[in-house]
Every structure is written in structure tokens, then in C-alpha cells.
């Protein structure tokens, strides 16, 4: 008991001696607080600007994600690709489709020259 009291007295003495007096007590500089505070606010701004990018950079991308992305891009590419206009009629009134249809069936020279003429007309 006596030892315990002495120990407590010792603790009290040292704790008192280790405290700063009013005059010597250090005060944190206000400019430090302000500069640190600005850094916290900057962190908030950065968060808004870069969060999406950072999230994307840290994303765990699987192979099927890449596969889906490639398929989607391919579909969009096919749908949006420019299509060459198909001529519907020629100078002599023969339909373009007709010309193409007859191409496989021609046997005579007369028919061939007709087709060539027709082809060059539609081509130019």
C-alpha cells in the first residue's frame, strides 16, 4: 500500500513536471492549418475529376469483357459502314438487276456485247 502510494506520488510529480506552463505551451501555427486544409480540399476536387479514370484503370477486366467489347465494336462497324448506291436503271431502260441476272446465262456474241455495253454504261 505504501509502495503503491509512493509510486502514484512519483507519477504525479513527473507528470506535473513534464507539462508545459502556460507561457511555454506551443501553439500550432495557423498557416500550417490553412495550407493543410487546402490540400484536403484539393483532394476533393481531384476525386471528382479523376475518380472515373482511376476506377477504370483499376478495373478487373476479364477475357469475356474484351470479347463482348470486340463484338459490340464489330456490330457497330457493320451497321454504320457506308453502302455504295446500286443503280436501278440503265440508259437503254434495262434494269440493273436484270443485267446482272442475265450475265450468267449468256451464250451468244450478241448477248455478250449487249452485256458489255450495258456494264460499261452502268459503270461509268
Amino acid at each position: 500500500m505504501v509502495m503503491e502510494n509512493k509510486k502514484n506520488e512519483l507519477d504525479e510529480l513527473l507528470k506535473n513536471a513534464m507539462q508545459f506552463t502556460k507561457e511555454e505551451e506551443p501553439e500550432p501555427a495557423a498557416h500550417i492549418h490553412q495550407s493543410l486544409r487546402k490540400k484536403v480540399e484539393q483532394r476533393k476536387k481531384h476525386k471528382n475529376v479523376f475518380t472515373t479514370i482511376l476506377r477504370f484503370m483499376n478495373a478487373d477486366i476479364k477475357l469475356y469483357h474484351a470479347g463482348l467489347a470486340v463484338t459490340a465494336v464489330a456490330v457497330v462497324f457493320i451497321l454504320l459502314r457506308p453502302v455504295a448506291p446500286t443503280p436501278t436503271t440503265t440508259d437503254n431502260g434495262v434494269g440493273g438487276t436484270q443485267v446482272a441476272d442475265t450475265a450468267g446465262n449468256c451464250n451468244s456474241l450478241k448477248q455478250d456485247s449487249f452485256l458489255v455495253k450495258n456494264f460499261s454504261t452502268s459503270f461509268y
Binding site: 509512493k6 506520488e9 513534464m18 506551443p26 500550432p28 500550417i32 493543410l36 490540400k39 484539393q42 476533393k44
Partner: protein
């Protein structure tokens, strides 16, 4: 006027701080800046400029790397462990790191606690404080830190062990060594010895 952050725990404030909430930082700063500055002032031998710089560096680390804080542990312990490492670096820079293990030689000696209790009644508090600071100024960083954390910052032995990454036994041993050194060097204050 108290804001809504004043009722939050340190760990909760850290979450808000991570999201860039300046008011959460204000609250943490209010809670810890003064005691930490006191710690730095004492540890850096009353160099007020260095103490302010150390305080700035510490909070900068808290702001820039809040993810280093493990929320399952005490925030105060984490802060002081950063502060302790900061001071250790200063001491290394000054080249005054002394052998951290020499306290082991003194653990078997018996401390005469009567010195302090007699002194308590008779000495001039101001003079004693000055002499105590002088003696602490010459101590190795580990022992000085242990003593300052125990008697100035009022940390428990377990907290000090966590901060300094050592066992509770080592903390006790360091305090014992420091008290013994103080008793030897401050004999002038004890008229009975």
C-alpha cells in the same frame, strides 16, 4: 459552435477526410495538433521551428496517405507511431542515436523511488523542470520517447509498446532506466541524498 463532425470517432473522421471533407480534417487537427506539437517540441529539444515542420509533415502524411491507417487500430497510436518515426529520423540526422540496448544492463538495479517522493515536497518546481528537460535532452531517442509518451502525453504502457513496436516489458525497462538516470543526475534536488 460544434459541427456534426465533433461527435464522430477518429476512424469515422478519417473516412470523411479520405473523401476530401475539410471539416473532418479540422476536427482531427483540433483534437491532436496541440498534444503532437508538445510532443515534437519536447522531442526536438525545444526547436520550435522544427517542431512546427514536423507537425506539418505528419498531417501531410495523414492527408496524402490515409489508406495507410488501419481502422481496426487506434488512430492516436497510429499518429504517434508516425511522429515517433519522424523524430527517430531527426535523431539519426543529428547523429545522436545511442545504443538502444544498454538499458538491459540496468534492469536488475533497484530504483530508489524515495528520491522522487522526497524531492516532490522540497524542490523548486521550476528549477526541477528545467533540470529534467536538460537530462532528457541527453537521453537516447527510444528512452526519451518512452518517458515523454508516458509522463507528458499520458499514454498507457500498452499504447507505448504499440507505438514503438516493442514489447510491454521493453517499455517498462526503458522507463525504469530513465527514472534511474534521472535519480542519479538530479540528486542536487534531493537534500536527503
Amino acid at each position: 459552435m460544434a459541427n456534426k463532425f465533433s461527435i464522430l470517432s477518429d476512424a469515422e473522421l478519417m473516412l470523411h477526410l479520405q473523401q476530401g471533407e475539410a471539416l473532418a480534417f479540422d476536427e482531427l487537427y483540433t483534437r491532436y495538433s496541440k498534444p503532437l506539437l508538445g510532443y515534437f517540441t519536447r522531442m526536438l529539444n525545444y526547436d520550435k521551428e522544427k517542431a512546427q515542420d514536423a507537425l506539418h509533415d505528419l498531417f501531410l502524411k495523414v492527408i496524402e496517405k490515409p489508406e495507410l491507417y488501419d481502422r481496426s487500430k487506434s488512430f492516436r497510436t497510429w499518429l504517434y507511431s508516425i511522429a515517433y518515426n519522424n523524430c527517430k529520423n531527426h535523431y539519426k540526422h543529428w547523429g545522436i542515436v545511442k545504443d538502444a540496448h544498454d538499458e538491459l544492463k540496468h534492469t536488475e538495479t533497484v530504483l530508489d523511488e524515495r528520491f522522487f517522493t522526497n524531492a516532490a515536497a522540497k524542490i523548486d518546481a521550476k528549477e526541477f523542470r528545467k533540470a529534467l528537460n536538460d537530462v532528457l535532452g541527453e537521453m537516447p531517442v527510444d528512452k526519451k520517447t518512452t518517458f515523454v509518451l508516458r509522463y507528458q502525453q499520458d499514454h498507457s504502457l500498452l499504447e507505448i509498446a504499440d507505438i514503438m513496436q516493442c514489447s510491454e516489458g521493453t517499455v517498462k525497462s526503458r522507463i525504469h532506466y530513465t527514472l534511474k538516470t534521472l535519480a542519479e543526475k538530479l540528486q542536487i534536488f534531493n537534500p536527503l541524498i
